[in-house]
C-alpha cells in the first residue's frame, strides 16, 4: 500500500487536534509531576506525602490549582509594575512552545493520509529548542529585578549567570549528536538512531552525561537550584510572587523539566523508537520507508495504529524515567555552592565538552574515510572510543575523592579496627572516622 502524507482540509484538522492534544497532555503531565515530586520525596524520606485528596492523593494538583487561583495576589509597593507582571508570562511561554518540535510517536495512518506525530517538523529542529530555552532566562531575571527585593534580585542574577554558563556546555555536548546524525531536525535524529541500530546514549556516552548535567543546570533543579536556594535567598527570584503568578513560575519550572526529559529521551534514548526495526518509519523522497536493503533500495514501512500507540508508550516511558531521575536526584544530592557551580561549568564541563567534540569529530571522520558503513559496527567503534573517554572523565572528576577515596577510607577503617582489637583493655570508639 502506498502511503501519502495527509493533505488538504484534513491536515488542518489533524494539526489543530495535535496542538490541542499535546498541549493538554504536557499541562497534565506538569500537574502530575508536581504530585510525583511530593510523593517520591515522601517515599525517599519514609513519609506518606499528600494522600488525602482523592485516591492516593491523585486529585491534589487540581486542589492546588483551585487554591492558587482563589488566593489573594500581592503586588509589592516598590516593585516596577509592568515588569513584575510581564515576568511570569515571559517565563511560561518558552517552556510550553519548545515541545512543538519533539516527535512523540511513529507516524499514524488515517484514511485521509499519514499523520506525523509532531506538531512542527521545522528544518532547524534542535536549534529552535535552544533559541527558546535561551529566552527563558529573561522571565527569571526580570522577576528577580522587578520585585525590588535583595534576595529576589540575587536569585535573578545567579540565574542569568548560571543559565548562560551551562548553555555553552549544553550546546557543545550537542555537537557530537549533530555530527553523528548529520542533521539538526529531531525526526532525522530519531531516524539515524534507528539506522545505527543503537541509541546515541551508547556511542556518545560522554555527551549524554554532559547533556544531562547541563540540562539539570538549565532547568535550575537541584543540585543546581542556586537561583532559588531556600537556605540563602528565601525562595530566590519568585520570593515576592503569590497565587497564580507564583504558580506560573512553578508550571514553567516543571514544564522545562518535562521538555528537557523529552529532549534527552529523543536525543540519546532513541525518542519514540523501540528495539527492533518493526517500528521504523521515515519520509524519504516522498515515500514512507523503514530502512534500506543491502543493494540500496528502500524497504517500505507499514504504519499502524498499534505501532503508533506502542511507540508513544515507549516515548512516555523514557520521558517518565528522566522525570523520576530529576526528582530522585533532587532528594539525594545536596545543593552546590555558587562558586562550585561556576567552576564546574567553566573549568570542567566546557573543556571536556570541547575535547569530546574534537575526539568524536576525529573518530567519525576516520571511520568515514576508512569507508565503514553506517550501522551497528560503526556504532560499536564509537561506543568503544566514547566509553574510554567516559571512564577517563569520571576518573578525572573523581579526583581521588569519591570512588578511590571511599576505597582508601575502607582499607583505613579495617586497619584501625585491627589495631583496636590488638590493644586489649582500652575501650575505644569502634571507628576512628
Amino acid at each position: 500500500m502506498d502511503y501519502q502524507p495527509i493533505s488538504g482540509v484534513w491536515s488542518y484538522v489533524a494539526m489543530s487536534l495535535k496542538v490541542t492534544l499535546i498541549f493538554t497532555v504536557v499541562m497534565v503531565v506538569v500537574a502530575y509531576t508536581t504530585l510525583a515530586e511530593r510523593r517520591v520525596s515522601a517515599w525517599i524520606q519514609d513519609r506518606h506525602g499528600p494522600n488525602r485528596v482523592g485516591p492516593f492523593g491523585l486529585l491534589q494538583p487540581i486542589a492546588d490549582g483551585i487554591k492558587n487561583i482563589l488566593k489573594e495576589e500581592t503586588l509589592p509597593a516598590t516593585a516596577s509594575r509592568v515588569f513584575f507582571i510581564l515576568a511570569p508570562i515571559l517565563v511560561l511561554f518558552p517552556s510550553l512552545v519548545t515541545f512543538a518540535v519533539i516527535p512523540i510517536a511513529a507516524p499514524l495512518p488515517t484514511p485521509a493520509g499519514v499523520v506525523d506525530m509532531i506538531i512542527a517538523d521545522i528544518p532547524i529542529g534542535i536549534l529552535y529548542v535552544l533559541a527558546f530555552s535561551s529566552l527563558a532566562v529573561y522571565g527569571v531575571v526580570l522577576g528577580g529585578w522587578a520585585s525590588n527585593n535583595k534576595y529576589a534580585f540575587l536569585g535573578g542574577l545567579r540565574a542569568s549567570a548560571q543559565m548562560v554558563s551551562y548553555e555553552v556546555a549544553l550546546g557543545l555536548s550537542l555537537l557530537a549528536v549533530l555530527m553523528l546524525a548529520g542533521n539538526v531536525t529531531l525526526t532525522e535524529i530519531v531516524w539515524q538512531q534507528q539506522q545505527l541500530g543503537m541509541w546515541f546514549a551508547f556511542p556518545l556516552s560522554l555527551a549524554f552525561i554532559l547533556f544531562v548535567i547541563s540540562a539539570f543546570a538549565e532547568t535550575n533543579r537541584l543540585p543546581f537550584d542556586m537561583p532559588e536556594a531556600e537556605s540563602e535567598l528565601v525562595t530566590g527570584y519568585h520570593t515576592e510572587y503569590s497565587a497564580m503568578k507564583f504558580s506560573a513560575f512553578m508550571i514553567s519550572e516543571f514544564g522545562h523539566m518535562v521538555t528537557a526529559s523529552a529532549l534527552m529521551a529523543t536525543l540519546f534514548l532513541g525518542g519514540w523508537d523501540l528495539p527492533g526495526s518493526w517500528d521504523n518509519a521515515h519520509w524519504y523522497q516522498g515515500q514512507l520507508i523503514s530502512g534500506f536493503a543491502a543493494d540500496g533500495s528502500v524497504i517500505l514501512a507499514s504504519p499502524a495504529l498499534w505501532k503508533t500507540l506502542a511507540t508513544f508508550g515507549g516515548f512516555a516511558a523514557k520521558t517518565g524515567f528522566f522525570l523520576v531521575l530529576y526528582i530522585w536526584i533532587r532528594w539525594t544530592l545536596p545543593r552546590f555552592r555558587y562558586d562550585q557551580v561556576m567552576s564546574l561549568g567553566w573549568k570542567v564541563m566546557l573543556p571536556t565538552a570541547l575535547a569530546y567534540a574534537m575526539l568524536m569529530a576525529g573518530t567519525i571522520l576516520t571511520l568515514d574515510e576508512i569507508g565503514l558503513a553506517y550501522g551497528f559496527g560503526y556504532g560499536l567503534v564509537l561506543t568503544a572510543v566514547s566509553g574510554m573517554a567516559t571512564v577517563g572523565f569520571v576518573f578525572m572528576l573523581d579526583r581521588g575523592r569519591t570512588i578511590t577515596g571511599a576505597a582508601a577510607q575502607r582499607t583505613q577503617r579495617i586497619q584501625t579496627k585491627t589495631i583496636q582489637v590488638g590493644e586489649a583493655g582500652h575501650p575505644q570508639p569502634e571507628e576512628a572516622a
Binding site: 516596577s80 509592568v82 515588569f83 510581564l86 521545522i122 528544518p123 532547524i124 536549534l127 529552535y128 535552544l130 533559541a131 527558546f132 535561551s134 529566552l135 532566562v137 529573561y138 531575571v141 526580570l142 529585578w145 534580585f153 535573578g156 542574577l157 542569568s160 549567570a161 543559565m163 548562560v164 548553555e167 542533521n183 539538526v184 531536525t185
Partner: protein, 172 residues
C-alpha cells in the same frame, strides 16, 4: 496570511526599535531591543532563512542581550543621563534620523532595487537547501569558499577578548 504576518512583525520590529530610544528605563529599552531582534528573527523565518532566524535568537537575544541585562542590573543604571540630553540637539537628531529613514524607505519602494530574490541565485539557494538542509546550506560555503575570512574573524574576536582582559587587569 504570510504577507499579513510579515507586515505584522515588520511593524513590531520598527515599533520596538522606536521603543528602545523612547523608553525611560534602561531595562525597558533592553526588552524592546529583544523584541526587535525577535521580530526580525520571525521575518527571517517567513523568508525561509530558518538558520539565520535561530542564530539571531540564540546569539543576540539569548546570549548578548542577557549579558547587557546582567550589566544594567548589576550597576543599577538609573536616569542620571537625562540631564545630559539637550532638547535642541535631541530634536535635531530626531528630524535627521526620521527624514533619512523616510528617504531610504521611499527610494526602495519606488523601485530602486528589486526586493524579491529571483532568477539564478534563488534557484541555486533552493538546490543547496535541498542538498544540504537548512544548516548545511550555510555551512557548506562558510567552511569551504569563505573559510579564510571566517577564521580571520574568529581571530579578530580572540584579539578583542585578550585586549579586554589586558585593559581590565591593568586597571586592577
Amino acid at each position: 496570511m504570510e504577507a499579513f504576518l510579515f507586515y505584522f512583525f515588520f511593524v513590531m520590529a520598527i515599533g520596538a526599535a522606536v521603543g528602545v530610544v523612547l523608553s525611560k528605563s534602561p531595562v525597558g529599552s533592553l526588552l524592546f531591543m529583544v523584541t526587535t531582534l525577535f521580530a526580525i528573527s520571525a521575518e527571517f523565518v517567513l523568508l525561509e532563512a530558518h538558520f539565520l532566524a535561530a542564530v539571531q535568537v540564540i546569539v543576540y537575544a539569548g546570549a548578548i542581550m542577557v549579558l547587557f541585562l546582567f550589566v544594567i542590573m548589576l550597576l543599577n543604571l538609573g536616569h542620571d543621563y537625562r540631564q545630559d540630553l539637550r532638547v535642541g540637539v535631541f530634536s535635531l537628531a530626531w528630524v535627521v534620523v526620521v527624514s533619512a529613514m523616510a528617504g531610504v524607505v521611499g527610494w526602495r519602494t519606488r523601485g530602486g532595487e528589486g526586493l524579491a530574490a529571483s532568477g539564478a541565485g534563488a534557484q541555486e539557494i533552493q538546490a543547496a537547501l535541498e542538498q544540504y538542509g537548512a544548516v548545511g546550506a550555510i555551512a557548506q560555503p562558510l567552511y569551504t569558499t569563505y573559510v579564510v575570512p571566517f577564521e580571520i574573524t574568529g581571530i579578530l574576536l580572540l584579539v578583542a577578548i585578550v585586549g579586554a582582559l589586558v585593559l581590565a587587569k591593568r586597571n586592577a
